[in-house]
Subunit: 239 residues, 2 copies
DNA sequence: CGGGTAATTGACCTAAGTCAACCAATGTGG
DNA sequence: CCACATTGGTTGACTTAGGTCAATTACCCG
């Protein structure tokens, strides 16, 4: 990890996401901005957290994508889930001294220590919602792997990613930018990269998906959601 | 749900599990026993929690098995996970007003309101570990569905179930009793019941598995764990 | 230009699904 | 106590989604 001097940056997507989860007071927003003073950059393929190793401090992902990954002794690899800008890492709301999975940066990533919610109930509330979403994403992953076919898995995941990015305003309706290779997609979806490629081509031909390099667009998300049996994720506030 | 008068019962497996997660003071144990005064019986196939419906009160499962289940509009069904005696339901340690999945009783089940941990830090600690285990089980499910083949999925799940039951002392080394039909197993493992049946037969022939009605035994768990790439789940205390 | 990563394609293979019987155990009403 | 219905397990014949292997092409990037 390379410590970085990160002076005045542009309005961070991570902050926008937290604000989207539940409006933050000026004080809470300031606390988040303050935490970014200790931003670190982690290069692609480096590990943010290692399974079984103590978690130094919970993190807030400012920029870039990471994945929770488990690798089997024979080399099979499974992405358990992704971590997108504005999402948190190693933050459980309860005792959890060691990481339960390895988290790897998929591209160059910026992280900072998770802003302390002490004295900011609104921030704590945003974290609580964030944790609930984490769990929802994990369950969605189980459904995808258990009961969707290849095409549905791909589209369902892309829909989810778009929804999640939208919270941080990282998805325009022209689509979004995604650092995933087809192989990473395969590792997330329990498929092979060859098959992912074939299905992508097919979806491109039918026009339900546009995919150019790192740019992805789903022209008719509503129709796809229906086809894939994906319910819109509802975030009910809580308390 | 049928309220029940539940007088002095045998030493409940649920209590044994909580004690196994972290020794409880006499007071905490008493609180758990006290909570069982309000035990309810839920019949097989009835729902304990319905997705999207408010959670009246978090529950402790005393007896019987339940499953978190999601059903797609076209009838496909996926068990997201199981709930075994001593495990908790609708208990998140943070705001979560509505259930995120439906939980269905797989056989006749007894539940009681989750004993309040107020004033019992040791009980709270047991709950925290329980939540961490929940998450671990969910991740294990993702690995199974994403990267294991049918035989591995079955054996891995059975190994996990045995480990979990052992916490409540519900697994002798002669095996354990399991209310799951082959079809339920299929719904948990992303397979069809026909295929589950074939794989079970094969595993029975090789002797790696014994399966008689509701009785299951894995004669050599250590060997299987190695074959399936299953790491023993380590529960580190926490704080 | 050279070397590495990512995407693409074809030929072929196999794990798992589908469909359809059939059987065994259990339970139910009469 | 029996005829019948139901549920769960078992089996065979056949199909298919997705995997494997291997080669080829398209990009980068220094």
């Amino acid at each position: 990890m390379i410590p970085v001097r990160q002076a005045g940056a542009s309005p961070p997507p991570a902050l926008r996401r937290l604000q989207a989860l539940g409006p933050l007071t000026a004080g809470a927003s300031a606390a988040v901005v303050a935490a970014t003073a200790e931003t670190r950059v982690v290069r692609a393929r480096r590990e943010l957290l290692v399974e079984g190793r103590p978690i130094a401090t919970p993190l807030l992902l400012l920029d870039g994508w990471a994945a929770r990954v488990r690798i089997m002794s024979d080399g099979r690899r499974q992405f358990v889930g992704f971590v997108l800008p504005g999402e948190t890492l190693g933050h459980y709301g309860f005792a959890q001294p060691v990481a339960s999975v390895t988290v790897t940066a998929l591209n160059e990533v910026r992280v900072c220590p998770l802003p302390d919610s002490e004295g900011h109930p609104d921030l704590e509330r945003a974290y609580a919602i964030s944790r609930a979403l984490d769990e929802a994403h994990l369950m969605a992953q189980v459904i995808r792997l258990g009961r969707l076919d290849a095409r549905e898995r791909i589209l369902d995941l892309l829909l989810e990613l778009e929804e999640r990015l939208a919270l941080a305003e990282l998805a325009e309706d022209g689509g979004f930018t995604m650092p995933l290779t087809q192989e990473m997609l395969a590792d997330a979806l329990g498929l092979t990269s060859v098959h992912v490629n074939r299905m992508l081509q097919q979806s491109r031909r039918t026009g339900e998906l546009r995919w150019n390099g790192r740019q992805v667009a789903l022209p008719d998300p509503a129709a796809l959601r229906a086809q894939v049996g994906r319910a819109a994720t509802v975030v009910t506030a809580g308390d």
